[in-house]
Amino acid sequence: MTTTEQHSGFKQIQVEDFRITEEPFYLPISDEIELFETAYAQKVPVLLKGPTGSGKTRFVEYMSWKLHQHIGNVEAEGVPLITVACHEDLTASDLVGRYLLEGDDTRWIDGPITRAVKVGAICYLDEIVEARKDTTVLIHPLTDYRRLLPIDKRGELLESADGFLLVMSYNPGYQSALKDLKHSTRQRFMAIEFDYPPRDQEAEIIHRESGVDRAVAQELAKLAEKVRNLKEHGLAEGVSTRLLVYTGKLIAHGIRPRRACQTAIVWALTDDIEVQRSIEEVVTSIFDE
């Protein structure tokens, strides 16, 4: 492993060397683990659909950790996970790789997807719809039976290593019609739907993740349920599990519940004064201080 210890205390490692070594906490909501495991074994690309903060990233991390026992050809630490956050200006070269000038020569460096294909990693394209359409086409040959990555600039064709799997995430909520996935892209993936967990499970997650006691976690989960009722009736998005975890952390560290909810939920969710007040009223109905 090519880890460089720096003086200032941070660790710098190559992406393909990154391993999740400790079991991430993931609370299964339904049969998603089984689905993913099967997909992985059968090399079926996976699309994770769901609102922000509903556990997609956490799920992929968990799966990457969990799947390491099943892979024979890679080191025992597990399946590497290479994550790419997609954005508007993401180009094909950003994913595949490009030449850099080095002195009078040039040097090729692999992009993340190329690396993943080579080492047999899970390549996780977060928020795929943000990427430009011409970029998304690039993954087409990778995601059908061929599992090939063409590298145009070098005139090469790369065959994926065994453990390689392409996983994308996608939040169908706030996308406009403009930014929808092309059908030819969509239909190369099986989809696992994520949604915010039911009250009790969400309470458990909040409790485990934030350290706040179970009773408060339960109330936070209840609050979340109520606030989510406002989705599309004043709110563009319901409150995410992530925000609830943040709120739990604030409360666990001494901030009063009403105040914690105000800063981490109410203000984070919307700028509309009336909606803010309505949510605050829900908060004060649930928490008495």
């Binding site: 109520k226 007040r277 649930i286």
Partner: protein, 1098 residues
Amino acid sequence: MTLSPDLVTRFSAELRGFGSSLPDDFARAAEAVAEVLTPEEVERWAQSGVDLANHSLRSWEAAAEYFRASPDMARRVGFAGLQHWVDVSTTLSARSSLIAAAFLKSSPSALDVLSAHELDAWSQQGDRLCRGNWKSIALAALYFQTSPALFQSLSLEAVGRLVDIIDQLTERSYELATTCLENSAPIFAGLHAADREPFLRFARAVTRASWADTRLYFERGPRLIEAVDASQRATFLDLASRVTMAVGRQGFPLFADAATALAEVETADHAELLGFATRLAPGSPQAAMEFLKSAPFVRTRLTADQMQRWAETGAEILTVEHNAEGSEAFFRLESTRAEEMMRTLSARVELTSVNGMLRMYAKALSGEQVSVQSTESLVDKNIGWMSEASATTEGTAIYLPPFVNTFEEQAANFQVYKVFTTHQTARIEFGSFGYRWAEPGVHAPVTVPDREARRAEAPITVAVAEGESEPKVRGEAATAIQRYFNLFADRPLIGGLFTVVEDTRIDAWVSREYGGIRRWLRRLQSYEADHRPEVRTMGLRQGFVENLLRVSLARPETVRWPTTLQEYLLRGIAALKVIEQPGATVQDSAEVAAAIYDIIVSLPNIVADLPEGDWVAPDEDMISIAPGMPSGGGEGEPGMMPNGEEVAFENPPQPEFRGDFKPELVQLLMKLKLQQQGQQQDGVNSPLTKEQLMELLENSAEITISEWAEGDLASSLGMFLSNLEKEAGTPAGDPKQKGEGDTGDQPGGGDGSDDEDLPMRIDYFYYDEWDFRAADYRPRWTRVGERLLDEGDDDFYEETLRKYHGLVMETRRQFELMRPESFRKIKKLEDGHELELDDAIEFHVDKRAGVGPIARIYSRRNKVERDVAVAFLLDMSASTDEEIEKQRQKYDKDDDDDFDGDPRKYFQWLAQRRARQAIEPPKRIIDLEKESTVLVVEALEAIGDSYGIFGFSGYGRENVEFHVIKDLDEAFDDRVRRRISKIEPIRSTRMGPAIRHTIHKLNEYDAKVKILILVSDGRPQDHGYGRDRTEKEYAVHDTKQALVEAKRDGITPFLITVDKEGHDYLKQMCDDIGYEVVDNIDSLPRRLPTLYRHLAAE
């Protein structure tokens, strides 16, 4: 002294030529006079009479009065006085014997008050009224007739002032003067002594300001001031005089309104109110009166102290800001400042100010599309809910009273609203209306099927409390809850019990689920418990329910119950506690209520006549009793039943925060709704028959038929039923909140074809208006009705395109040229479409120098989505009907008087004009607007920006019409095309509200750049849009203010006007707002793209 018979004979003879009674009058008087006067004096007295009689043709009538009044007068004034008296009379008789007669006749009673030497002054007052014509003579005579009565309440001097007033009135109308004089005596007699002078002073002011109002004042004044506190009437009248002197003809109406207002305020407050008004009066008499007029309304919202603080602010506008108009508007409550101040000061919370927020709150809690509305609207629907004071729900909406004023702090009253809302929402959330027949609950065993069976066996025996003698065979129930209620003979009792039990369950759920609101729930429960009616005067059954209610309000210590019957109550309370346990459902409530019903009906409904000591306050046992259902049938022997009178059962009143509960009606409504949607529901038999419905309504304890049925019961029921059916047909959710987040999710097929048959839909919006004089907004002053413009034919659009083919093409080309601007070049990329030479060179230099390892030398053009929304607002007022040519002619003449000196030029011009007109009809402003619209549409379609086209007109502030030709998010299609052809002049031009509504629409629309283009003839004008018809200032200021508001909201306003004369208004309106004058459609395409590019620049 004796009277010489000779004298009588002598004078009688002289008097014989006059009226037949004169000698007799004389003879009788002589006899009496002789007792007071010496014979010589009698002689001279008699001679004076004869002289008077001979004075003129009809003066014998005066003489008759002279003789008749003489005995009395002689005694009062003696001989010298008599002499003077007759002299005065003679002078008067020179004017008219009628006047003299009246004077003479009234003299003795006048002297009851006046002293002898005041006779002259008195006679002169009457004399003054006489102008020689017969009307004035009659008036003067009337004056003398009524004066003795007047002197009872007014001094001579004051009567003199009254005469002034009467005299002044005669210049306008003798009839009016007469009426006023006639009424004066009783009026002044009816007034308090201290009020008479002030009343007179105000009368004088009124007469001067507006003579015709004097009649009204004399008629209504006394009654009006009667309502004013006695010690304050004089102050009030003096204030009114002062105001009237300042404001003129408005004086009396202001007085009348202020008096009416004072009548609505407690008299104890009058002194303070009037004191304050008097303080305002010097600065603005008008403000003083407006203050009084608003007082009753303000007092309903503010305490005396708060009102004082509020009023001080209004006074400061006057005294510190020196803005009289502002202060008047403030006190007239036509000012945002006044309203806002009131809102902040007042403890009272209005539903309108919290409604939107509570709606979202209720949605959040329940997860349903509930709306929040005022109870007033539910009562209006006439579907069984009668009370505007109680919160309630009919299953889809929450109805709240229009305001809450329970506590003294605003925050507390808001919490009251919140508890109201939470309770009603909880009914929906925790299933109060979801009762299902015979389904098990969590805590109580199911008994209803057994009860039904038992009831079938012995259907009549239970009908004790019911007034009906003939048992009716009940048909099958329409709803599950009705089937349940049918089990019980006493419907009001089971209804009341079910309500108490179910509300207890709901409160328990709310307390458990919403820890934060518990404190306020407790406070309200406690508040209610402290305001319960006396138990001891109730019948036992009613008292039982009342006590359960108190327990359910968590205040068991307020229970009062006969000691001997304690067992009964204990069992009832234990049963009630079952429902407070976690998980309890409405099924449990039904069973618990049934069990308690059994206990209660074993008691007679008598008012127990017991000594104080025989009523228990609750002990430990009662407070800490464990939940438990009463053991089956264990009614036991009734203990010592107290004596007392049997009374009819009536449910005790519901605590306010729980509101009205009508599960039977709600289930019926829900069922009707499902039926109308064609969905069949499981459970009780459907569909409903008319008979079933009628039976439900007749038997239900939830509606009091007598309260709304007038006359024929069957037809009232029928009407009621059709109301219910109509209600069931209307979709859930807010009717008015369409498109405001609530995506119009109407159930049932709502395809386009249905729309055609619907009546025109108008959505109303309210906007403030700017009153520049008051420097404040008039709150919710205008009402804008938004509707779709009718569709005309297709021809116009096509025609215009054809006519201006070249222009259209040119405009389009111009607009298309704008497009490349929307591409943005991004530089410093590692990879891109083009190499940036500068960057590349720099990179190589850097590299030589050993820095800058990444080659960011490429650039790329990114297409930036245009994000522009523009709203066109077209003036559709009547003035746009004007021909443009005519206008041009007008200013042509004004501006360049060229041809004045050269008639040939003029005729040339005229001939040209005629020729032009012969080819095409004269073009009106509206035509120009319409044609430009076509051009603009074509251009904007080419460029792809979002745009809306709206027209406005209307009449008066309540009727601003806003016509949608194309909404911002609507696609351009044939319908829009047809609507454009329907653009035509309608009525007035109130620009402010139309602009404000357009702002509202743009604010709702999501775009980076927003533009509002107002196309008009530049003349805002409407009824009441200014002090009078000709004033422009008010309208111009309001319009300008609206445009400023647009800017404040990040919208770029722009004005296009088709009126050169309007230039000046526009300049004033637009100091820093863009404007342009267009008088020719040909110049539009050249201007538009430049203009638009300029406006839409990011």
